[in-house]
């Protein structure tokens, strides 16, 4: 429970932070809320030599609505998203993260940049078809969610870069459902399914997006479910038939509490329930 020795800097601007990261090299790590990094350091599973704390960098927190979308500062804590209920699904999901202490400290940017497939908001960003803004010393780029998650704990955020902002489309007219399965309230998701459903004028499914949490080394879209439901009536039969595809092509990591097959089963059950909730909204 005692980390290896490390240096700590608290820059007061993004440029300062970027130069500190460059000087720190590949063993420098960004400290956001610290709720993933610090436990890993205390268990000595991670031993960065330098922590660059973003807490003092201005302009990285806050949730703003502009022309049809949301801009969320990377250092915005989960609790702020929980309270911004107009975010819809992303707000509902934020409320399920761990416990109040974690939600007050943990940040959306830290969670996405860390890339843990058991974390809640990763698959949600995929389902929204949102994006993130990444700053490096050479400039800024916007990376769509579909290109952000490369592998377990590996994202498009390179060494020396900072994820600064999260962008979500407003998704007017979409209803949502979220089903998270874990043993304890505070646990990471064993499996979670987030569904966004747009009902057409005739009551059929005009559009549907389904995000899967912890069904692979990266978050996933359940594209087979989406294809099976899009354009179909939003009745129990269609939903159940579509949800049967929830685990198609997935390679869920087994752990102490769940085998891969059990997780696939859970994904199908939770997908059906999430779609039912969204369809009934």
């Amino acid at each position: 429970m005692i980390p290896a020795e490390f240096d700590y800097v608290a820059p007061t601007s993004l440029d300062e932070a970027l130069s500190a990261l460059r000087e720190g090299g590949e063993d420098a790590k960004i400290l956001a809320g610290g709720h993933s990094l610090l436990p890993l350091m205390k268990l000595r599973l991670a031993a960065p030599t330098l922590l660059v704390d973003l807490a003092g960098v201005p302009g990285l927190t806050g949730i703003e609505r502009d022309d049809g979308g949301w801009r969320i500062g990377a250092m915005t804590p989960h609790i702020a998203m929980e309270r911004e209920t107009d975010l819809g699904l992303a707000s509902v999901v934020a409320r399920t993260i761990a416990d109040p202490q974690v939600r007050h400290r943990g940040t959306i940017g830290g969670s996405l940049a860390h890339g843990d497939p058991a974390s809640d908001q990763l698959a949600i960003l995929l389902a929204y078809e949102g994006s993130v803004v990444i700053r490096g010393e050479s400039g800024e780029r916007e990376v769509p969610a579909a290109e952000l998650f490369h592998d377990y704990l590996t994202t498009a955020v390179a060494d020396g870069e900072v994820l600064t902002e999260v962008r979500l489309p407003a998704l007017e007219g979409y209803a949502h459902g979220y089903e998270k399965f874990n043993r304890r309230q505070e646990d990471w998701a064993m499996v979670a399914v987030g569904a966004l459903v747009k009902k057409g004028a005739d009551g059929s499914c005009e559009d549907v997006r389904v995000g899967l949490t912890h069904m692979s080394s990266v978050p996933l879209r359940a594209t087979a479910v989406e294809e099976a439901l899009r354009g179909r009536p939003l009745d129990a039969g269609s939903i159940a038939a579509a949800a049967e595809h929830a685990a198609d092509g997935t390679e869920p990591p087994a752990d102490l509490n769940a085998s891969a097959d059990y997780k696939r089963h859970l994904a199908r059950v939770l997908c059906r329930r999430a779609l039912e909730t969204a369809a009934a909204a």
Partner: protein, 822 residues
């Protein structure tokens, strides 16, 4: 029993006062061992084995010693101790194979987390870095993790010198088992698993050893500092008077702080070697690997009954996984299951056999309930299994076999005499809170809609108030100590009081309940009573806090010392008021002649006289304090009735506790708020075991649950709001009438929860389940009952957790010989 006079009025006893301890605790002004820094203090870190079983080929300490600030690296061969880590059970007539247990491994490691070396240095961070530089080369040996495989021929041996992994066999029984089975119309057999759990108090273990000029001060997170002093004296060849053990505020124990651990010996050795105080603070991961675990018992149970429900006999063989070494009570704990094997019932024929087994794991020892939760679990699960076989209402079956209220004191077939009880009464009261007919109607309606709701019960009793010496001590079951409790009640010259107790409370709130007892008897307020404990440098020798003993033994001792003080106070008052002592009574805070309250003396006036020595009876010693060493005649026997209602999500296996209702009886309440607190915490412990917690080793003996991410301790968000009620049946054993309550909730609750889940799932064909009820496990059992294949459950590696085919069929092999192995 000596008659102890009761106070004429009870002003404070019975009130749900807030805890005296809380203001300092909740404002951060408690003082725990880790809060202390002594001048010149060094820090210690332990190098632990990553291997479950291996020869130590070499230990290279040079790299660690070369680091700045490192003062010493100590390995097993460096220690010269008169004896190792103690185990205190010598059962008459039973041989217990007892391995040498040194504070650091010598030549071989036998479980993951065993200490191999310690590093001592200036800074608590630097010693952890230095510990990583101690290079140990291991040569792995075969590992055995499953206790039933460990008993099979050809198993790897944990201790080669014994030629077997069987540590001992101990039995208790009564009646005639052949008669039990020949008289039975129905016999039910089950293999009931009570898996390994951790105590996991919020404060891990910490010690500071300060050895100066032949004198040792040891600050320690302990439930029994006096015993630790005794052991330390033996190991170090010191006399007891030169050792002082201090347990200041202790942040919970749940039994794991009873034992004497290697680290307090090592810190002392390091302090002696360096001439500086040495502190060691356990990390949570160390706590999971190297502090004792609890339970870990596989019970092969057989119960027989006549067609009308009359139980003819019960037999249990317990396979107890003891781990690789013993701590203080390790091999004794399963025996406690045997003491309670009759439960609340008249069972004429009983037999209980405990078989201890060495495995390559951390030792098991006492955690909350220590053997008794295992007993209640197996009895109360079997009662409901039997009721189903008999097609009888499980509550009717219980009522038919309960020991009747008028039969107390009641001797059960194993020879233990239950002091008091009213088992029908507590069940009746429980059913005033739970409308069973309404529940069954609701259950049927919900099933129509695919909602699986169930109800389960536990009517429990237990044996606690650890004492009496004649039953528990060397000539009884063989624990090598007396089991009395001491107290000293000192009234100061100004009329307030300090109480020294030999108990060592660590979160129970006993400072408050003890003060309530004393305040009523002396005519003062609880605020005027300070309670001291946990320091061998003050007050008389004491036995500590465990086994739900502190109130029933320690509290009674305090009541007796207080009565002696009152006796002396009355003599002083009588002298001053020119009356006979027997005519003096305490009323409204004054010692006065009966019928003349206006001329009474306060305790402050009497104490003033006793210390200033004015106007005292001729020849009376000055001062106003008394000591008692109280050794009761019998244990005490709390009991109660619990009901749990759950919903099971049949599609996923997840369980939701809808209601938890209980009626408990621990005699007259000293402080009902504290009782509720203990019951809430106790049930939560059981919910943790049934639904969430399991100390899990894989097949290679690696500890998989080394953090709270994997060891699923429930939080407040995971438990229901408890509905508690009480009955009050006084124990005849002590003058307060009290029985222990610290372990009651844990002892009671697990079968109620398990039975409720089985009740919920019976329509799906599930007739029996073993803990822990993880979602995948429950879901798998539902699939099996429906005749479907299920994927392998990764949670089942490394131990005998399976239902052995009894999940869907409700039967299955149930003797260790037939059912052994996976």
């Amino acid at each position: 029993m000596t008659a102890v006079e009761q106070p004429a009025t009870q002003k404070w006893v019975g009130q749900g006062l807030r805890r005296k301890e809380d203001p300092r605790m909740i404002t951060g002004r408690g003082r725990y061992v880790d809060d202390m820094t002594l001048p010149g203090m060094l820090y210690m870190a332990v190098v632990r084995s990553p291997e479950a079983h291996a020869k130590i080929v070499s230990i290279d300490t040079a790299g660690a010693l070369a680091l700045q600030g490192v003062h010493a690296v100590i390995v097993g061969e460096d220690l010269e101790l008169a004896s190792g880590v103690p185990m205190a059970w010598v059962p008459p007539g039973v041989e217990v194979k007892t391995p040498e247990h040194w504070p650091l491994a010598k030549g071989e490691v036998k479980y993951v987390g065993q200490g191999v070396a310690v590093v001592v240095g200036d800074d608590k961070y630097a010693v952890v870095d230095a510990a990583e530089q101690v290079l140990v080369e291991y040569d792995p040996l075969p590992v055995v993790v499953d206790p039933e495989k460990a008993l099979a021929a050809g198993s790897p041996l944990v201790h080669e010198e014994f030629g077997t992994n069987l540590t001992h066999e101990w039995s208790i029984g009564g009646g005639d088992m052949d008669a039990a089975w020949s008289e039975a119309d129905v016999v039910v057999e089950r293999r009931i698993v009570n898996h390994r759990t951790a105590g996991a108090p919020i404060e891990p273990r910490v010690c500071i050893a300060d050895y100066r000029a032949g004198q040792l001060d040891l600050h320690l997170t302990s439930q029994n500092p006096h015993l630790i002093r005794l052991f330390m004296a033996g190991e170090l060849g010191m006399s007891e008077d030169s050792i002082r053990v201090i347990a200041p505020d202790v942040g919970g124990g749940f039994g794991v702080k009873i034992s004497h651990y290697p680290e307090e010996i090592l810190a002392t050795w390091a302090s002696k070697a360096t001439g500086r105080p040495v502190k060691w603070t356990e990390t949570r991961s160390e706590h999971m690997s190297s502090t004792i675990h609890g339970r870990d018992q596989i019970d092969y149970v057989k119960v027989g009954a006549k067609r009308d429900g009359t139980i003819t006999g019960l037999e249990c063989t317990a396979i107890a996984d003891l781990g690789a070494f013993y701590t203080l009570l390790t091999p004794f704990i399963p025996c406690f299951t045997g003491f309670v094997i009759s439960g609340c019932y008249k069972i004429p024929n009983l037999n209980f056999v405990a078989k201890g087994v060495f495995t390559n794991k951390m030792a098991t020892d006492a955690t909350r309930g220590a053997g008794r939760p295992e007993a209640t679990h197996l009895i109360e699960v079997m009662i409901e299994q039997l009721a189903h076989e008999l097609e009888m209402d499980p509550l009717e079956l219980r009522r038919k076999n309960f020991i009747a209220k008028e039969d107390f004191p009641a001797e059960v077939a194993i020879g233990i005499v239950y002091d008091s009880g009213d088992y029908h009464g507590s069940l009746d009261k429980l059913l005033t809170h739970v409308d069973l007919d309404a529940f069954r109607r609701e259950q049927a309606e919900l099933r129509e809609r695919g909602v699986y709701r169930g109800i389960g019960f536990s009517t429990w009793m237990e044996i606690c108030g650890l004492a009496p010496s004649r039953a528990v001590g060397p000539t009884g079951v063989g624990l090598q100590a007396g089991f009395f409790e001491s107290s000293l009640v000192r009234v100061h010259a100004t009329g307030s009081a300090t109480v020294y107790s030999g108990t060592a409370p660590h979160g129970q709130g006993l400072d408050t309940s003890f003060a309530q007892i004393v305040a009523d008897r002396l005519g003062i307020t609880p605020d005027q009573v300070d309670v001291m404990h946990g320091d061998t440098g003050t007050g008389p020798w004491g036995l500590g806090t465990y086994g739900s003993r502190s109130l029933a033994v320690g509290g009674e001792s305090i009541a007796r010392s207080t009565a002696k003080v009152v006796e002396k106070a009355k003599q002083i008052a009588a002298h001053q008021l020119e009356a006979a002592p027997e005519d003096i009574e305490l009323a409204d805070g004054k010692f006065a002649v009966k019928g003349s309250p206006e001329k009474g003396l306060t305790l402050a006036e009497i104490a003033g006289a006793a210390y200033v020595t004015m106007d005292m009876p001729e020849g009376m010693e000055p001062g106003l304090e008394e000591t008692t060493f109280y050794d009761p005649e019998n244990f005490v026997f709390p009991f109660g009735a619990h009901a749990c209602i759950v919903d099971v999500d049949a599609e996923t296996g997840k369980i939701d506790i809808v209601r938890y209702v209980c009626v408990d009886d621990c005699g007259p309440a000293i402080n009902p708020k504290l009782i509720d607190g203990q019951i809430h915490g106790g049930i939560t412990h059981a919910i943790g075991q049934v639904l969430y917690e399991r100390v899990h080793y894989d097949d290679d003996g690696q500890l998989v649950t080394g953090t709270f991410v994997d060891y699923a301790l429930p939080s407040a968000a995971d438990v229901p709001s408890f509905e508690t009620d009480r009955t009050e049946t006084p124990s005849p054993v002590n003058s307060l009438g009290v029985k222990g309550v610290g372990e009651a909730g844990t002892i009671a609750a697990s079968p109620a929860i398990l039975n409720s889940v089985i009740d919920a799932l019976r329509p799906l064909g599930v007739e029996f389940l073993n803990m822990p009820l993880s979602p995948q496990h429950v879901w798998s059992q539902i699939q099996l009952a429906a005749g479907r294949d299920v994927p392998a459950d990764p949670g089942k590696q490394g131990g005998s957790w399976d239902e052995h085919g009894s999940g869907s069929a409700g039967s299955g092999p149930t003797s260790p010989s037939e059912g052994g192995g996976l």
